[in-house]
Subunit: 239 residues, 2 copies
């Protein structure tokens, strides 16, 4: 049965090939984030295909977050960050057996281990990033109406931790989980004394990471997340 091994016989549709080629160019940095793509008609000529195919290819890349619509209708290469975000949200809304609790648990898994690794690998600059994030949280707290601002600072703190792990995939995964949790967190800010607790706990986490005490970092992170989850449940239950 061996012998002549035939070509895989390129049955991929035109728009898929286009999308693939564009993706390659982005992957190899021949198209960098921020670059604007050529107009559709130009691509039409370059590839020698109809506009429909070009558009469908663009739609694929757009829905995957690789490119984004800019003003004036043109497309630009997006910052490499998102792909997981939308997918996780999609998955979460599609799989009815997945509940909020699953989300928190996944978050706990990722963040605890991230804290652990961060404690082992952090550089001083990461500590600084955490400090400014905590300071920003306090500022937002004193500011009063700082719901959004507080949450953003909180996010930056956790992001600084996963940044410190040096693992890009952990970073992206956390971002994705966080992105889905975000709405629920908006309620937790309204719970009395909850944000204050968060600041204290963040300091504890930061201290453990500064001491390079990985086990303590994981433990503090776990305590923090458990409390937040409990507060969210209460907040949802009562509010």
């Amino acid at each position: 049965m061996a012998g002549t091994n035939y070509q895989p016989l390129d049955r991929r549709k035109v728009y898929e090939q286009i999308a693939g080629q564009l993706l390659d160019q982005i992957g190899t940095r021949r198209l960098k984030p921020g670059d604007v793509l050529p107009p559709e008609r130009e691509l039409t000529e370059s590839f020698g295909v109809g506009r429909s195919s070009i558009r469908e290819a663009l739609r694929m890349l757009e829905s995957q977050g690789v490119i984004a619509a800019a003003t004036g209708g043109a497309f630009v290469v997006a910052e490499p960050a998102n792909p997981l975000n939308s997918s996780l949200r999609l998955l979460f809304s599609l799989d009815e057996r997945a509940g909020m609790h699953d989300l928190y648990e996944l978050r706990r898994i990722l963040e605890c281990e991230a804290a652990f690794l961060a404690a082992e690998r952090r550089a001083d600059e990461h500590l600084e990033a955490m400090d400014t994030a905590v300071a920003e949280m306090e500022a937002a707290l004193a500011d009063g109406r700082g719901g959004e601002r507080f949450i953003d600072a909180d996010l930056r703190f956790h992001l600084a931790i996963s940044e410190a792990t040096g693992n890009r995939l952990v970073l992206h995964s956390m971002q994705a989980v966080r992105d889905v949790v975000r709405r629920a967190l908006l309620t937790v800010v309204l719970i009395p004394r909850s944000p204050e607790s968060a600041v204290v706990e963040h300091r504890a986490i930061r201290a453990a990471i500064a001491d390079r005490d990985a086990d303590r970092a994981r433990q503090e992170m776990r305590a923090h997340l458990v409390r937040v989850e409990r507060d969210v449940e209460q907040g949802v239950g009562s509010g």
Copy 2:
């Protein structure tokens, strides 16, 4: 500046609205996995829009893995599983700062904690699933030429574990990571004695989970993954 809060002014493009509506129908199970979508022309009439818009909407859903092309060109609603897979692969190829090592580390984080949780929550049926998977691995091993088969059985074992956690998101995440790692694992099968070790280690993991010894389960899983990663590195280095 507050006061009149205007409508978001539906500036969403037609194809986005179509995609959204279809996604809703899938999310609410009015369209179940396996169902075939109506032909494009029919959708054209239903929505009262041009075929291009329909096609672009379909392309978005297709590239997100929500629907898949079936034979005869028709589209069917896909099994809810994939969205993370393609995204992670995409992310991995796009973020040049992410290396294989990051991937293994993420896998280790997920699988170790999954093993931990599985030990606490497993039912007997999960143990059975693991047993059949291990048996299948041995069969594939005895069979000789069982590269694919061995890996599939291996996957089923790990899947059974995350199934036992009861956390759908953990399950999906693991699947996604696993999907990207898959190619690398194909090399590990060729390494002498590596598959045999895997069987032994799987048994140890299974035993710990059966004993509901969560800490031991995590530890065994970690040992297993560390060895596999080392073997892969050697395999790539030497072969």
